[in-house]
């Protein structure tokens, strides 16, 4: 039994390292490099969003954060019945999180492309946002 473990564990460990290495390569190779953010199918640059959106300051457990109000952006891009939708926020490295309107309306998008929500877990604080999909 012990001999079995001595043979199998190093092989599994090597496999795990290879999975980690190939996943890292995959994530970097599939990063989407773009300077715009798609919201409900429409492309905007961060500058555009900051010129048309309403600025909001929120207090988070990592201090004060300033950015453009997400609820305002969603309304401006013409989403009807905002409460009926779910909003999937996608990052350039493939990370994504879905929030409902109740959470989204408290959030902001910063000038470095990160969303913050004052009362939601950090899991939802997506970095390097490239899209907010409305579904």
């Amino acid at each position: 039994m012990i001999m079995g473990k001595e043979k199998i564990l190093p092989i599994i460990a090597m496999t795990v390292l290879l999975i980690g290495i190939f996943s890292t390569i995959y994530v970097h190779a599939n990063q989407i490099e773009k300077n715009s953010i798609k919201i409900n199918g429409q492309e905007f640059t961060l500058d555009q969003l900051f010129s048309i959106g309403v600025m909001r300051v929120i207090e988070t457990d990592e201090g004060e954060k300033t950015g453009v109000a997400l609820d305002d952006l969603i309304t401006m891009v013409g989403v009807g019945c905002t409460q009926c939708q779910e909003y999937t926020i996608k990052a350039k490295d493939g990370y994504q999180q879905t929030v409902n309107w109740e959470i989204l309306q408290t959030g902001i998008l910063t000038d470095y492309g990160r969303v913050y929500f004052p009362d939601a877990a950090h899991t939802f604080w997506v970095r390097n946002v490239i899209e907010i999909e409305v579904k």
């Binding site: 012990i2 473990k5 001595e6 564990l9 190093p10 599994i12 460990a13 795990v16 390292l17 999975i19 980690g20 290495i21 996943s23 890292t24 995959y26 994530v27 599939n30 457990d61 990592e62 779910e86 999937t88 996608k90 490295d93 493939g94 990370y95 994504q96 999180q97 879905t98 929030v99 409902n100 109740e102 959470i103 939601a120 877990a121 950090h122 899991t123 939802f124």
Partner: protein, 214 residues
């Protein structure tokens, strides 16, 4: 070993783990270092392996995760970190399951190859397991609901993020096992004052930090 002694052990090791997550983890986070990988690969693996090596009791690491997660969850210094708390609790549980087949005297881990392999596997699976659990439970608890497509999309990131903790674990576990020859047992009359004192210090330090800074 009696149950009270074991509970005191769970409390002290869980508190030390939670303390390092709250205080050292928060400081590391500010420096921009990969906090999660260091906290799991170094601190979690160290406390989990030392406690297993010292107490030889099944279920202890699960209890430590609950204590450490609770300290993280109720840590007033940096607010409520639901994801971190859930991840820590899950890490304790995953470690417990992963080490189920390893004997308490670690006789399977005599060779360096086995120690490095176990370090890689423990740190990797503990880390990605905690990550997956938070990706599932945090949206559910937060009320926004869990979406399978989000987890699927994030899986390459999760599998990739386990690489650094695995490499740290490969070094840390053999290093921790070197301390096996050191007798960490305390005399009975010192055991309870020490364990309760250290636990109280961890909890009071975390709360005190908040009181001083507000």
């Amino acid at each position: 070993m009696n149950n009270v002694k074991l509970l005191a052990g769970i409390l002290v090791f869980g508190s030390l783990w939670g303390f390092s997550e709250c205080i050292i983890g928060s400081s590391l986070h500010e420096t921009g270092l990969p906090t999660g990988a260091i906290m799991t690969g170094f601190f979690a693996i160290t406390f989990l392996v030392i406690s297993r090596m010292t107490y030889h009791q099944p279920g202890m690491q699960l209890g430590m995760g609950v204590v450490a997660g609770a300290l993280r969850l109720f840590n007033p210094f940096v607010g409520c970190h639901l994801c971190s708390a859930l991840a820590i609790m899950a890490e304790g549980a995953i470690f417990e399951v992963f080490w189920y087949k390893i004997s308490f005297d670690f006789r399977e881990l005599k060779t360096l190859t086995m120690q490095i392999s176990m370090g890689i596997l423990s740190a990797y699976f503990v880390y990605i397991g905690g990550y997956i659990v938070t990706q599932i439970l945090t949206p559910i608890i937060s009320g926004s609901g869990f979406f399978v497509e989000n987890l699927t999309a994030v899986m390459p990131n999760i599998l990739s993020s386990g690489l650094l903790p695995a490499l740290i674990g490969a070094v840390v576990l053999p290093a921790v096992l070197l301390t096996k020859k050191i007798d960490l047992r305390l005399k009975d009359h010192l055991y309870y004052p020490t364990t309760i004192g250290v636990s109280a210090f961890c909890w009071l330090f975390v709360v005190g930090n908040w009181l001083l800074l507000t």
